[in-house]
């Protein structure tokens, strides 16, 4: 097998790979479609019911938009904070690492939902009356998700930093680089590349975490879908519609996480320095 691969010209190998992944994509799409059809058959053909969509579509699309908005806020904040914390964690000064460790242990020890709820309640109380508003509570809730994810991202970045072998740092020093320079030109490029795969995973988690905001009535997809669900139940509408709603919601989240992980995969491929994984974790 090895010799065959060596004999195959690189260009051909690339197109082979592209063909395989295209086949894979087709498989996934087909499988997904099949699954949905199956689900609907089992649970009662309701996904395409026009009556349902008359009631639900506004909430559905607004919910998606709101969710995207929250994601746009949470992801960058979490990366920025997580990166700084991860960097702080590899500092030699305990005065820096201890508080950071406490922060990380805190967010790793309690459920995000719990912190979210209480942050949105407690947070506004810190500010003078005139700033307190529902909006503020929601924003604080979203920020809590960001800080929660940051704790995990800090660990990812820390692992990335520590995976860059000591020899690299020595070599950078040996050609006369100062600490910050070696960080910028040698350590960071490698650490960031190494962090990409687990980071992709974490991003998928953040996307799903936005559903938690429903607990504080944030008007994102999950929350609005819940409201419709309540309306249907109370109004005695067809309970099959419930399956349809949640299937639709599940599909939306699935597509979002799928797109994000694909995008990260493309990014990984683009910045891939051949042989970098040889040093990996």
């Amino acid at each position: 097998m090895g010799t065959v691969e060596a004999a195959v010209r690189p260009a051909f190998r690339r197109s082979l790979f592209a063909r395989q992944s295209a086949v894979r994509m087709a498989e996934i799409l087909l499988g997904g479609l099949l699954f949905l059809v199956l689900l609907q058959v089992i649970l009662g053909f309701s996904l395409l019911d026009p009556d349902l969509w008359r009631v639900y579509s506004r909430s559905f699309w607004n919910g998606i938009l709101r969710t995207l908005g929250y994601i746009a806020l949470i992801l960058p904040v979490s990366v920025a904070v997580g990166f700084c914390l991860g960097w702080a964690r590899v500092s030699r000064y305990r005065a820096i690492t201890w508080p950071v460790s406490v922060y990380i242990e805190f967010f790793r020890g309690v459920p995000p939902l719990f912190v979210l709820i209480f942050a949105s309640i407690l947070g506004p109380t810190l500010l003078p009356e005139r700033f307190q508003s529902v909006e503020l509570g929601l924003t604080l809730g979203a920020l809590t998700i960001a800080f929660h994810s940051a704790a995990f991202q800090a660990e990812i970045f820390r692992a990335g930093f520590q995976s860059v072998s000591r020899g690299q740092v020595e070599a950078a020093q040996a050609i006369g680089m100062r600490g910050l320079q070696s960080m910028r030109h040698v350590i960071l490029p490698q650490a960031l590349r190494l962090s990409l795969p687990p980071l992709a995973n974490e991003f998928a988690v953040v996307i799903k975490d936005t559903s938690l905001l429903a607990a504080i009535a944030a008007g994102e997809l999950f929350h609005l879908s819940q409201r419709i669900q309540d309306t249907i139940i109370r109004g005695g509408g067809s309970l099959d519609w419930l399956f349809a709603i949640w299937t639709a919601v599940a599909v939306v989240y699935f597509v979002m996480t799928f797109l994000v992980t694909r995008a990260m995969l493309l990014l990984e491929r683009k910045v891939h320095a051949r042989g970098l994984e040889a040093l990996a974790l």
């Binding site: 690299q168 070599a171 020093q173 040996a174 050609i175 030109h185 042989g275 040889a278």
Partner: protein, 241 residues
């Protein structure tokens, strides 16, 4: 040109270097031999200040360099280093590896550096691999790029820390050839190695280090064939088989 006086270094309870005095003149090739754990690598790293000596002074061209007022980065620009595990920057190509120092540390322009870097790679015989990443190179090739990288900084001297110890046997020759050529061109070199063939033919002086002290020093013929101390004799006989 490089002088160390009374160097002591402790790692915790371990007294690794016990009062080292050494002098290397310009153009000299000094080879340090000794059993593992004798402190050879540590001594080398004390010279370019990757390790800070607990006691003693290091002089480069008469300047006392392990002084709080001197920036270590400046010292490392004067004295380059080649590592046992090559330590090429894995995310950069060979050419970029060689260029990084001059461009980012010395501030030379990219075009000028690129020209020079290509010359250096040619000098070590790797022009064809300028665009290759370290993972695509053999050990011997990586080490030669590492030498080019050290040369790019125009150092006054280069320190070699067991440059061929991590290489497969078929690649040792090519690296030693580059080092020999360098010596012939008059580069001041301090080499820690087990390659006795290289030491005999290229070194101007051999130093035998054991358990943190210099046991013996002298010309290759003297140390290898007529050692003055028993420990030297024992060690040399083990190495020369």
């Amino acid at each position: 040109m490089i002088r160390v006086e009374g160097i002591h270094k402790h790692f915790g309870a371990l007294h690794v270097l016990r009062g080292i005095n050494l002098e290397v003149s310009k153009g000299e090739v000094l080879v340090i031999i000794g059993p593992s754990g004798s402190g050879k690598s540590t001594l080398l790293r004390c010279i370019n200040l990757l390790v800070e000596p607990d006691q003693g002074r290091v002089f480069i061209d008469g300047v006392h360099v392990n002084h709080p007022d001197i920036r270590p980065e400046w010292v490392r620009q004067q004295v380059g280093m080649v590592f046992q595990s090559f330590n090429l920057f894995t995310h950069l190509t060979s050419l970029e590896n060689v260029m990084l120092g001059p461009v980012r540390v010395k501030g030379v322009s990219r075009e000028a550096t690129e020209e020079r870097a290509k010359d250096l790679l040619a000098r070590v015989g790797l022009s064809a691999k300028a665009g290759a990443y370290p993972a695509e190179l053999s050990g011997g090739q990586q080490q030669r790029v590492a030498i080019a990288r050290a040369l790019a900084m125009d150092p006054k001297a280069i320190l070699f820390d067991e440059p061929t110890s991590a290489l497969d046997p078929e690649y040792i020759r090519e690296v030693l050839d580059v080092m020999t050529a360098l010596a012939r061109e008059g580069m001041t070199m301090i080499v820690v190695t087990h390659e006795m063939g290289f030491a005999s033919s290229v070194a101007s002086r051999i130093v035998f280090l054991d358990a943190g002290t210099i046991i013996e020093e002298g010309r290759p013929e003297e140390v290898f064939e007529t050692p003055k101390h028993e420990r030297t004799r024992v060690f040399v006989s083990k190495i020369l088989r």
